[in-house]
Structures are given as C-alpha cells and as structure tokens.
Amino acid sequence: MRKDRPCVLRVEDVTMQFGGVVAVNDFSMEEYEGEIVAIIGPNGAGKTTAFNVITGVYAPTNGRVSFNGSKVIENFPKGKMKKGYLGENAGKYTETLEPTPDKLTALGMARTFQNIRLWPSMSVFENVLIAKHMKRTSNLFSATFGANRAEEIRQREEADALLETVGLSDVRNELATSLPYGKQRRLEIARALATEPKLLLLDEPAAGMNPQETVELTRFIAEIRDQFHVSILLIEHHMDLVMDISDRIYVLDFGKMIAHGTPTEIQANEKVIDAYLGVADDA
C-alpha cells in the first residue's frame, strides 16, 4: 500500500439497486497515486456496476465517491428507492451529486469497456484524436472557421505520438473495427490515455485474449502506468494478470466486498477461495 501518496480515488459505501436487485452493496475502496488496483469476483458479482457508478454512468442509490481528494459523486436513497433500500448506511449521505461521465473524464478519469466500444466508422487515428476533443480551447466558431489551427495541429501531433507509443502507428489509417481483437483493446486504452487521465479504469482488458496476448497486455499495462504516471483500476478474470501486476485487490461477491489486500493475501484468503477461486477456476 502506498498510503504515503495522495489518495486518487475513494469509494465509500456505494450501493446500487435496480428495483429489488442489489448489484453493489456498501462497497468501499481506495486507490493511491501510482497504484494498480484490481477488482475481482465471479460473474455477476457487481464489478462492472461498481465501475459504472464510479465513472458516472449510473447514479448510485447510496454512497459517495471522491476523486483526487474532492467529492465527485454522492447520493442517498429517495423516491421509490427509499422504501426498498436494502443497504446499511441510509441517512449517512445527504447530498445529491450526480455528474455525467464526461465531467468525471474531464476531472481525469478515463475508462475502457468490457465489450469494446470503439467508434466503428472512424479510423484508428480519428478514434484517438476525438478523445482529444475534450482538451480543446476552441469554441464552435473558431473551430469551424479554422481559427484553432495551431491547436488542431498540436492535437494531431499528440494523437500521432500516442499511437507511436502504443505501437499502433502502422495501422493509423485503418478502420478501428477492422483491427484484430488485441489491437482494438490496445487502441481503446490509447484512446483513454488521450484524455490525459490520472486514473485509468480498465474493464476486463484481457477478455477474449490468448495467453500470448495476455502476457503482452500485462507488460503493456505496467508500462503505461510508469510512462503516463497514471493510477490504474482494473476488473479482470485472468488471475495471472491480476496477481502479476496488481498492488492490491478487492474481491466482490454478490455485490458485497468480501476481502481486500495484496495478491499474496488474497491468494491465501479462505473466504475468497471459497467464494471465488474454489468455485470457478480462472478463465
């Protein structure tokens, strides 16, 4: 644990209910600068839901998320939810703060998706370039009438540089969705990096990859942490990868956090072995 460093992400008592289903229940976690933290758990444990709450896709039923020391998401049960709320921390939070995902991205969070979501009609280069849109200083008029030329050139160069770094320069003008699977994953990460994040959230980056590709990816993730000075939060099923690169691991089961600790601790944890490793061998 790197508690000496500032806390990048703090999640407190986050609960997400859909009707009567509690997808995430009182989940709390923190991540410190420069860490790679993994969330693991069997299918349906609520990992992606937790991700979606942190990135602002869903407004949580209850709980709070702080980013870089300031509160960014907060909610408490109200309306229909108030009656049906099944969590334990009702009344603890009193504010409603529900930013849209783009606001969080602007603050420095960037993510990838479990089922790759590249922009299909656009080239590899454009996919990265558009992620730079957020960093623009131009407005609609200056952009339309070409008054932002300097910025446009700079962003294009940055995008090209990024592609160079992640090793996708050779497919720069290909259609994003025509790339092989592994490269699409890599492009998605590059696109997220283009927003210049402090925290990178990777949703099952190794899903569907062969062992060879997984090894490469493991190295790649470690590389980008160092090169771009980002903290990384990832969901993953590939235990080799997780155990290899994670500094700490949180384990979810049925929406509840059942354990957290270093990879060695987790590997030794009885609960985890019962609930997860014992039941499902890593995929």
């Binding site: 859909f18 992606t48 979606n52 896709v57 998706f113």
Partner: protein, 306 residues
C-alpha cells in the same frame, strides 16, 4: 353546464374509440419491433378508400368483409416487403422505410382519387340519427366506445390465453431470446400486423361513417394522434393505448369547444381561438408525458446496458 359540455364529451369518447382501434396497431407493432409504423395511419385511410370504391359496385354485406380482408392483406404485405428485409438494419433505416411507405401510399391514393374528396358510403343503421340525453347525434357515436371495448377485451383474451398471444408477449419482452427459444418470429410479427390492421379497418369504418370524407391525407393525423395515444398510455401496453386514446379524443373535442364553453360560462367574453390548437394540443400532451414520464402511464421502465 352539463348540457353545454356533454356533446363534446360524447363526441370525444367516440373519436377516442376510433383512435383506440388504430392505436392498438401502433402499440403492438412498437412493442415487438420497436418501430413506429408511420404507414399505419395510411392503411387506415386505404381501408376507407377501398370501401368507397367497393360500395359503388357491390352490396355492403360483401363490401365490408372484403374491405377488411384486403386491408389486412395490405398490412401483411407492407411488413413483408418494406420491414422484413430491414430486420437487421439500424432502427433509423426501418423508420425511414416506414415513412417511405407512408409517402408511397399517400401518393398512390392521390393518383387514384385524383386528389379529390371521396364520400364514404352510408352504412345503414349505424349512421342513423338518434337522440341521447336530449342530444342529437348519429348512432355510430354511441356504439363506437362499446364496440372498441368489446374488441379490446377479446384481444386481451387472445394475448393472454392463446399460444400466439404468449409468443407475442415473449417476443416483445426479448426479441433475440424468443428467437433462440424456437418462437417463429416472422409468424408472430405477421400476426401482429394482421391484428393491428384488422382493428384499423374496423376503426376506419366507424371513423369515416362519422366523418364521411376520405382524402389521401385522411389517415395521417388520426394515425399520428393514435400513436401519441399509444405513447401516452405506455407503448406496448394495450389497455394503456386505449385509455390514452380516449383521453386524447375527449381532450381534443373539449379544446375545440373550449372557447364556447368559457363564453357560455361567462369566463371570457370573446373567442380566444383555442380550436387552432386542437391538433397541436395532442403533441403538447405527448411532450409533457415524454419529458416527465417517458414510459407513459402504464409502460415499464427499462435500463440501458453498458
């Protein structure tokens, strides 16, 4: 007061019943295909036109069943030709196809009728004049709501208690899964279109008996309003569509009479011109519903998956 308002309510209920019969077609198709079948209103108009031409050359007891059969056939064909090939295409393409079909039907009708108003044949008995609560009106006004409700009850029975009905419910819940479960999607969709157009054909008979002029654009507005009724009630829900249709029918009728009602009441002294908004009001209602309760009165909430 009651005597002033009653005629508007009765006329509104009658129009509402006719909208309801069209709205069911919209709501069922949307429930299954997620498609606004823009051509549905035009099918309704074609049913009216067919009746005009057929009644001129054959007795009504042949013309009416034949008209219904042909209308159903048309609905079936439209699905086959214009929607089925686009089953896997984006939703926008299908909607554009629906708009294209609507455009084609209207232009075809314009060509055949020469753009002239066609007078709907008088169907005996239902178009007779009757007196209700001291108010003169035609019999069709009175029987429409009852007929509508009977048909809807029958339809709900069909959907709840027959195999095809169960299949329809399954498909509307989840298209892909039902397909995997061995439900013959195409048959279910065809059945939906057949039921929808059948009701539209019956509705057209009542509507045009009440308002006996058929022009190529006759179907557009009632169609749009019926769709709004379906959205209002919660798209996919048949009782919702029916209730929505009645609300819209009555509201529309009251809006047209609002100036008069207020003047008779003494609230205002001169015309304000609310009648101008009789069509627009339907859409105001629609937007209010969409903004505040996007799933309508009886619709179910769905969440997008990320």
């Amino acid at each position: 007061m009651a005597k002033t308002i009653l005629p508007y309510i009765i006329s509104g209920i009658s129009v509402g019943g006719q909208y309801a019969l069209i709205a069911i077609g919209y709501t069922m198709v949307y429930g299954i295909l997620r498609l606004i079948n823009f051509a549905h209103g035009d099918v309704f108009m074609v049913a009216g036109l067919m009746m005009v031409y057929m009644a001129a050359s054959m007795p009504l007891y042949i013309a009416i069943p034949l008209m219904i059969v042909l209308t159903v056939l048309l609905g079936f064909l439209i699905e086959r030709v214009a929607y089925r090939p686009l089953r896997t295409a984006p939703r926008m393409s299908v909607m554009i196809s629906a708009i294209g079909v609507s455009y084609l039907i209207q232009n075809l009708a314009l060509y055949i009728t020469g753009g002239l108003n066609k007078n709907y044949p008088t169907i005996p008995w239902i178009s007779d004049r009757v007196t209700v609560f001291g108010m003169e009106t035609s019999r069709v006004t009175i029987i429409t709501p009852f007929l509508t409700i009977i048909l809807v009850v029958l339809l709900v029975q069909l959907i709840n208690h027959t195999k095809i009905g169960m299949a329809m419910r399954a498909v509307s819940l989840n298209f892909e899964t039902s397909q995997l479960m061995g439900i013959r999607i195409n048959n279910v969709i065809s059945a939906t279109f057949i039921i929808g157009t059948f009701l539209a054909a019956v509705g057209s008979m009542l509507f045009f008996t009440n308002y006996p002029g058929v022009v190529p654009t006759s179907g557009a507005m009632p169609g749009l309003k019926a769709f709004v009724a379906a959205v209002f009630g919660g798209i996919g829900s048949i009782p919702g569509a029916v209730i929505g249709a009645f609300i819209i029918g009555i509201a529309e009728s009251l809006i047209k009479g609002l100036d008069t009602i207020l003047i008779v009441q003494g609230t205002i002294s001169e015309q304000i011109g609310f009648a101008t908004f009789s069509d627009a009001f339907t859409f105001i209602l629609l937007i209010i519903v969409l903004v505040f309760k996007p799933t309508g009165l009886f619709g179910e909430k769905t969440t997008d998956k990320v």
